[in-house]
Symmetry: C2
Subunit: 242 residues, 2 copies
Amino acid sequence: MLRKLTSVSRLSDEDIAAVRSLPLMPRALRADQDLVRQGDRPSQCAVIVDGWAYRWKTDRSGKRQIIALHIPGDMPDLMSLLVPVSDHTITTLSEASVAFIPHAAILELLRRVPSLAYPFWRDTLVDAAVFREWVVNVGHRQATERLAHLFCEMWARLESVGLVEQRGDARTFPWPVTQSELAEASGLSVVHINRTLQELRARGLIETQRQSMTILDWPKLHALADFNADYLGLEAPCARPR
Amino acid sequence: MLRKLTSVSRLSDEDIAAVRSLPLMPRALRADQDLVRQGDRPSQCAVIVDGWAYRWKTDRSGKRQIIALHIPGDMPDLMSLLVPVSDHTITTLSEASVAFIPHAAILELLRRVPSLAYPFWRDTLVDAAVFREWVVNVGHRQATERLAHLFCEMWARLESVGLVEQRGDARTFPWPVTQSELAEASGLSVVHINRTLQELRARGLIETQRQSMTILDWPKLHALADFNADYLGLEAPCARPR
DNA sequence: CGTCATGTTGAGCGTCATCAACAGGAGTGG
DNA sequence: CCACTCCTGTTGATGACGCTCAACATGACG
């Protein structure tokens, strides 16, 4: 599982072994548990091994905005290594198993093998690219396109870690996200999410099952969303310097 | 000017000298010139010495979404060091002077002084934090609060590089952003921007001059925006590892 | 069998987009 | 110096997209 960490990030060589040597503190979590709270000063980073998590902020009025969804292989608080105080909360979306790695161990590793900083750094850059795309998404796409884009993104990310299933044209993947969480992630109301999902279903683009989602017509969904996966940095794992 | 690069980023010591030794290729640009285009593979990073720039993406229909505003001291395409292909375009907003630094020189510097990677890395993390806040901003704030938040953010960033002027309660700073650019940055229409600005002026919160803006009532604007500057990582420059 | 979380539907209304027109200033060329 | 154009800001009218409130349906779970 942890191999994803590096393979998703980008190519590496025998320092995969070095990364593997990092001490992992595995932990099983139920849904809706906080990994990191806003204002915390974590002393370790979390790697999601199984299950989903999300990051969110809240405003004065108490309404939440989900700013990122995280799937197995992600290190949602890698930033805590360098930015001491977290500016948001990270919560499990489903049952999840998470491995914690002490900051000290990572820093020590980077001291021994300085060039390993690049893959981690690049991971945070891809993270930032995803945020940029979310700005575009919530900034000026209509509800249907907005959801379509989100589904395309999540499909692409899940696909890169082998968590999708393709049968004919249908692409199925786990989807533990409720409509109200989807509303908080997309900046729409629950009611409107509901109707927009119905529209996407009626147009034959997607299908939802209990805890999973199926994209029935990828070309159309893709076109509707105006989706371009480049920003995910998945296809061109960068030859890292040094 | 370049001292801002490190001072804004975070504390450093005598390797400021090392950073200073980087070869700079200064260039004067007029407004509306592209620094980097979507799809480019830059071989150098840009540091904004004077003037403003912005990053944007466009969708199929041709409408632009501005995803970031950049001010003197920023390195808007630092990411190009590790992510070869740019997923967006960077354009000058005003007349600007920009210094370019070859990737090779930065990589060489980091090879000599590996721990210098941390300040640069942290810079990209703060960048990402700003994107997260933009997601919240365009995701679920109303027009007036959205603009108020943007003004607070830009004030805070400009203040940190000494580009604001305070006379009594009034805080004045350069503002080369037209209303239609503001619309593209905030995901609102030009017309609505215009009316929202009028409202902010009518409520005595801000005042706009030709190329500058004045915050007349910071407490009220701040409260309206629900602004919390923590995410900018300015007050707690992190003691860097190693 | 009740409770709770989630999903679904309807009605009414508000925020904000769109379309259109116009005003003022800056720069340009005659 | 005077059109002229272009860019920016401003205003009005109209309506759509999406929100809110409210009620109800469904399944999971104890």
